[in-house]
């Protein structure tokens, strides 16, 4: 796409926004459109002419400035300034003048006392899109972005969206740490950061609890280590364990899907049913072995168990892949040099596994930091940062400044983990699989190691099966918490009753939230996958200033705990100019930007397997970036796209911490409903609803997997690209 085409399209778009579409948001819905071209549905041109929005004249003037050159067919670098001016004018005016009139007092001499200005609507949206288009066209005309206007537009709009929906809310929220009672208070900020509630080491000397930072670090480290070791045991059995290992591999691979599709809280509930003081296992131990009933599950052990249940399968997936990627000839080479099996394992296999071990450790570590549901239900007196942040905001003592400071600490720990990983792995690359065929037989495990792995793996498998068995059964018996195991449809009926009054009526109390959830997940999933893959393509394949920044911002939302995101969204998007709270749109946006990193990472990994010369070949044949993307890159990325699609659909259905503040009367979500049930102590209904969700997600994921499988079939032999282990 040429710069001129883009600039003309952008101008057209902005002009439509100026003359046709309602400038402000329609508060009472589409019915207000009837007022057009006056009233609340007036386009900007009408508002300018009647003088009620005179401060927006620059918007019209800038558009008029861009028009002549474009009509004559010239797209110059000056368009960049016009585009930037448009965006600044719209947002500047939007922030300067809000619902209560002038917001920025220092502008009073210039603007006087303007009337209230409601949120931006479709007209403003079109003008903004046009402004970004003009900006991009100007940049492309200057030779930036490989002189490709399409790429320029994608980068600029993605950058704009990330700034608006990731960076802005976060900065907004974190700046709360600097304020006390509405005044700037750096001292309070410092005090919050080093508060004893975060850093106290009292648990070492007395019975009081330790600082929440230490708790968080301890939990995350333990979860990461245990998950990684468990995953390793399973992976070793699966890849090197001989015939019986294959069986365990199959079983465990089937289980890897479970943590993904399990709604929050449910594993914790099952653990309570099993190991609580009146739990099934506890009772058994008491009756048979006189082991006294205790409450050990509440606190670190319980949370740890729940988190490991979720993370171990993921560690297995990572390590299994890495272990398969280690070329057997390396081990054979070591053996021919006379090394014994254990020695080979220690000196060759283990070091080659290091990157995957680090990746698995880091992933589990970060997931543990962000986990909110399990510490909430099972934490007992054991507090971690994510729950502490939640209660600093939603608890009886409301203190956004404290929450923001704690959120900063959590962010710092997350980034620290990433930095450590980078340091440890350094620049070393462990490439063992090349395009060349490698015919070797994987070395068998040393006997002692194999025994250890089996001794760890099998009990854990049984344990996992028991936990999920409880979940399966719990929704269909009277009260699993008290051991009343008679079958009933009662809980399912409460949630999902369907009646018949002049047509089907969804009476059950869970229907509304279920429908909203499916709708929101179904809308956000393709957007997430699409945007994620686009961003991956931009980051991996295009060279442009600010690429690192763009990448950083996409990764940022992964590191921010959900609770922080939720509150930051409600703080940033409740008032004009961007007013989204209470709509389904804010849920969609929240999901899209939270799940974006997965799509981006997946896309980048998949793109690394696709030789860049394919893109370049298309370009030299006259395929612009758009054609290349559509005809070459996207077809080759299909598996990655489908995976991203499945993942974002499923996470949208199971996320809770970010959206608990964002759901509204009209748009409630399944997980928030479940949290409510748990809060009210209605475990059975919560479990029953979770079972319904699990079934829906299982069907979706399996369906999609089947689809990908078929998609891969025809292309399997296509390129034999180098795979980089530990990249």
């Amino acid at each position: 796409m040429g710069a001129l085409t883009l600039a003309r399209a952008a101008l057209l778009c902005a002009t439509l926004g100026l003359f046709l579409a309602p400038w402000h948001g329609l508060q009472d819905g589409i019915s207000e459109v009837t007022a057009w071209p006056g009233g609340s549905a007036a386009p900007l041109v009408a508002l300018l002419l009647d003088g009620s929005r005179w401060w927006l004249w620059p918007v019209a003037l800038l558009l008029a400035l861009a028009a002549p050159a474009l009509l004559r067919g010239r797209a110059g670098a000056g368009l960049a300034w016009i585009g930037a001016g448009l965006v600044l004018a719209v947002f500047g005016a939007g922030y300067a003048i809000g619902l209560n009139g002038l917001q920025w007092g220092w502008l009073a001499p210039l603007l006087g006392a303007p009337p209230a200005q409601p949120s931006l609507g479709w007209g403003a949206f079109l003008v903004l899109a046009g402004g970004i288009g003009l900006f991009a066209a100007g940049q492309a005309a200057r030779g930036r972005f490989g002189a490709d206007a399409f790429v320029a537009f994608l980068v600029c709009s993605c950058g704009f969206l990330l700034l608006l929906f990731v960076f802005l809310p976060l900065v907004n929220m974190l700046s709360a740490a600097l304020y006390e009672d509405g005044r700037l208070a750096p001292a309070a900020f410092g005090a919050r950061l080093v508060a004893p509630e975060a850093w106290s080491l009292a648990c070492l000397s007395t019975h009081a609890g330790c600082g929440v930072v230490w708790n968080t670090l301890l939990l995350a480290t333990l979860t990461a280590v245990i998950s990684t070791l468990l995953g390793l045991a399973f992976a070793l059995l699966a890849v090197r364990g001989g015939a019986r290992g294959k069986v365990s591999a199959g079983a465990f691979r089937a289980m890897t899907i479970l943590p993904l599709i399990t709604p929050p809280f449910v594993v914790s509930l099952a653990l309570i049913v099993l190991f609580g003081r009146t739990g099934i296992v506890t009772g058994f131990m008491w009756d048979w072995f006189d082991i006294p009933r205790s409450r050990w599950i509440y606190g670190l052990p319980g949370v740890l168990l729940a988190q490991v249940l979720a993370q171990a399968p993921i560690a297995f997936l990572l390590l299994d892949g890495a272990l398969r990627a280690i070329s057997p000839s390396l081990e054979e080479a070591a053996s021919t040099m006379g090394a014994r099996r254990m020695r080979v394992f220690c000196s060759v296999t283990w070091p080659l596994l290091k990157p995957a071990l680090a990746a698995s450790f880091l992933l589990a570590f970060v997931e543990s930091l962000a986990d909110f549901g399990n510490p909430l239900v099972l934490g007992g007196d054991f507090d971690v940062l994510s729950t502490r942040i939640f209660f600093a905001i939603a608890g009886a003592r409301h203190d956004p400044g404290r929450a923001a400071a704690l959120a900063l600490l959590l962010l710092a720990i997350t980034f620290g983990a990433f930095a450590l990983q980078a340091l440890w792995l350094g620049k070393r690359r462990y490439t063992t699989v090349t395009g060349k065929g490698d015919s070797g037989i994987p070395a068998a495990l040393p006997a002692g190691l194999k025994l250890t792995c089996a001794a760890v793996a099998w009990p854990w498998m049984i344990f996992t099966a028991a936990v999920y068995g409880i979940i399966l059964v719990g929704g269909f018996v009277h009260d699993i918490g008290r051991g009343d195991l008679s079958f009933t449809w009662r809980h399912l009926g409460t949630g999902f009753e369907v009646g018949w009054f002049d047509g089907p009526a969804f009476i059950g109390s869970a229907w509304d939230s279920l429908f909203t959830t499916i709708q929101v997940a179904a809308i956000s999933a393709p957007l997430t996958a699409g945007l994620g893959i686009l961003l991956a393509w931009l980051i991996a394949r295009q060279n442009f200033p600010g690429r690192r920044g763009l990448e950083f911002m996409t990764m940022l939302s992964f590191a921010i705990p959900g609770t922080v995101v939720g509150v930051s969204y409600i703080m940033a998007f409740n008032v004009p100019p961007v007013e989204l709270t209470g709509t389904a749109l804010i849920l969609v946006i929240c999901f899209v930007f939270r799940n974006l990193p997965v799509g981006v990472r997946g896309g980048i990994a998949a793109l690394a397997q696709i030789d860049k010369s394919l893109d370049e070949a298309s370009a030299t044949m006259g395929g612009g970036a758009f054609q290349t993307l559509r005809r070459v890159v996207l077809p080759l990325l299909r598996p990655a796209i489908v995976t991203a699609l499945a993942y974002s659909f499923v996470t949208a259905m199971t996320a809770v911490s970010a959206v608990i503040f964002l759901v509204s009367a009209r748009h409630n979500l399944a997980t928030v409903y479940i949290v409510g049930r748990v809060e009210a102590g209605e475990m059975a209904l919560a479990i029953a609803y979770s079972t319904v969700l699990i079934v829906i997600m299982l069907v979706t994921v399996l369906g999609i997997e089947k689809l990908v499988g078929r998609a891969r079939l025809g292309r399997a032999s296509a390129a034999a690209p180098p795979i980089r282990a530990g990249a």
Binding site: R277, V575, Y673
Partner: protein
């Protein structure tokens, strides 16, 4: 490839329809933030819709979360009425000017405790139900341990209850704060803190949610759970082996409240709901929904299972003093320093 394109188009259409707010009905709309349990919220809203034709959009969240939301939305309120939930945050919202004054014509039908609370809040909130504080214990566990049944607050400090008491954390739960305030009013500040320190040794967990101890006592996860009595009643009716205790020294109570949010978009319907929710027939819904608080309307039927105030030694709870933010912070900070930090 026509299929992806069609998919995309459909996706767009679905997106658009999903994002457009639903059309207004003839009687208008009302958005209610509901802070009691779902089973009660839902029939309540359905009944109001049937009675008036107003379309109600309802969100159920705990009172803490609702308070957060109302605060965050203060510049541009989304909700109209906040119905239910313990009185303290309602009082706080009134104090922070987040809710508006409204004098319902039904005021005269209410119990004096309800009107008194309204007066203290300058009519920015009003009581819709009341529930006394107390505790419940698991009878199975009690007999197993051969402990004498507790009847007073003081019993809970006895050594035989070591590790057997569960109560919420006042940092996160209004219920727990009500307990603190109650004990301070029953015993006086210093003896109350001595008692709390003694009881601290018996506490196995400070839960975050106020109703959790009732559930824990019902399943036997703990022997004693300190909660509002109606939460315990709900468990007992569900068949749990629990006994409910209204402590002999006297106890405090919460007033479940209702407020109209400042800047409500549907003010007229909000007031309609307010008046209706104070009526005897609206308050009768509670009992049918397994909620056993005392209704604030004198003519409303009291659910037979509800713990009657006549049988409970109720203290003269000073909502104005103990509900104020300053006193609250002071008490919680002292509790944290002197009780929570102690060894168990």
């Amino acid at each position: 490839m026509p299929t992806p394109r069609r998919l995309l188009a459909t996706g767009f259409a679905v997106t658009l329809t999903a994002l457009l707010p639903a059309a207004a009905s003839a009687q208008g709309n009302l958005t209610v933030y509901c802070s009691v349990q779902e089973e009660w919220c839902r029939p309540m809203m359905q009944a109001f819709e049937r009675a008036t034709g107003v379309r109600v959009a309802m969100t159920r969240k705990s009172s803490g979360e609702t308070m957060t939301q109302i605060r965050a939305e203060a510049a541009n309120p989304r909700g109209d009425v906040w119905w239910g939930g313990t009185g303290d945050p309602h009082m706080q919202a009134a104090e922070e000017n987040l809710t508006v004054e409204y004098r319902s014509p039904r005021m005269s039908e209410l119990h004096p405790w309800a009107t008194r609370q309204a007066e203290q809040a300058r009519f920015r909130t009003i009581g819709i139900y009341a529930g006394a504080l107390g505790y419940s214990y698991n009878t199975t566990e009690l007999t197993r341990r051969r402990i004498a049944a507790p009847t007073c607050w003081a019993d809970l400090a006895k050594p035989e209850f070591r590790g057997e008491i569960q109560v919420a954390d006042p940092n996160t739960s209004g219920t727990a704060y009500t307990m603190l305030a109650t004990l301070l009013q029953v015993m006086g500040e210093e003896p109350a803190f001595d008692f709390l320190k003694a009881m601290h040794r018996n506490v196995n967990q400070y839960t975050r949610s106020g109703a959790a101890p009732a559930r824990a006592a019902a399943t036997g996860e703990t022997l004693v759970g300190i909660t509002f009595l109606h939460d315990a009643v709900t468990q007992k009716i569900a068949g749990a082996p629990v006994e409910i205790v209204a402590p002999c020294e006297g106890t405090g109570y919460e007033i479940g409240s209702m407020s109209i949010i400042r800047g409500a978009r549907n003010m007229e319907n909000a007031q309609r709901f307010y008046d209706w929710a104070l009526s005897a027939e609206a308050q009768a819904i509670a009992g049918q929904a397994n909620s056993f608080q005392l209704p604030s309307n004198r003519n409303a039927p009291i659910p037979p299972q509800a713990p009657r105030f006549e049988n409970i030694r109720l203290i003269d709870y000073d909502f104005a003093r103990w509900g104020s933010a300053a006193e609250r912070t002071r008490v919680i900070t002292r509790w944290e320093r002197e009780v929570r930090a102690g060894a168990r």
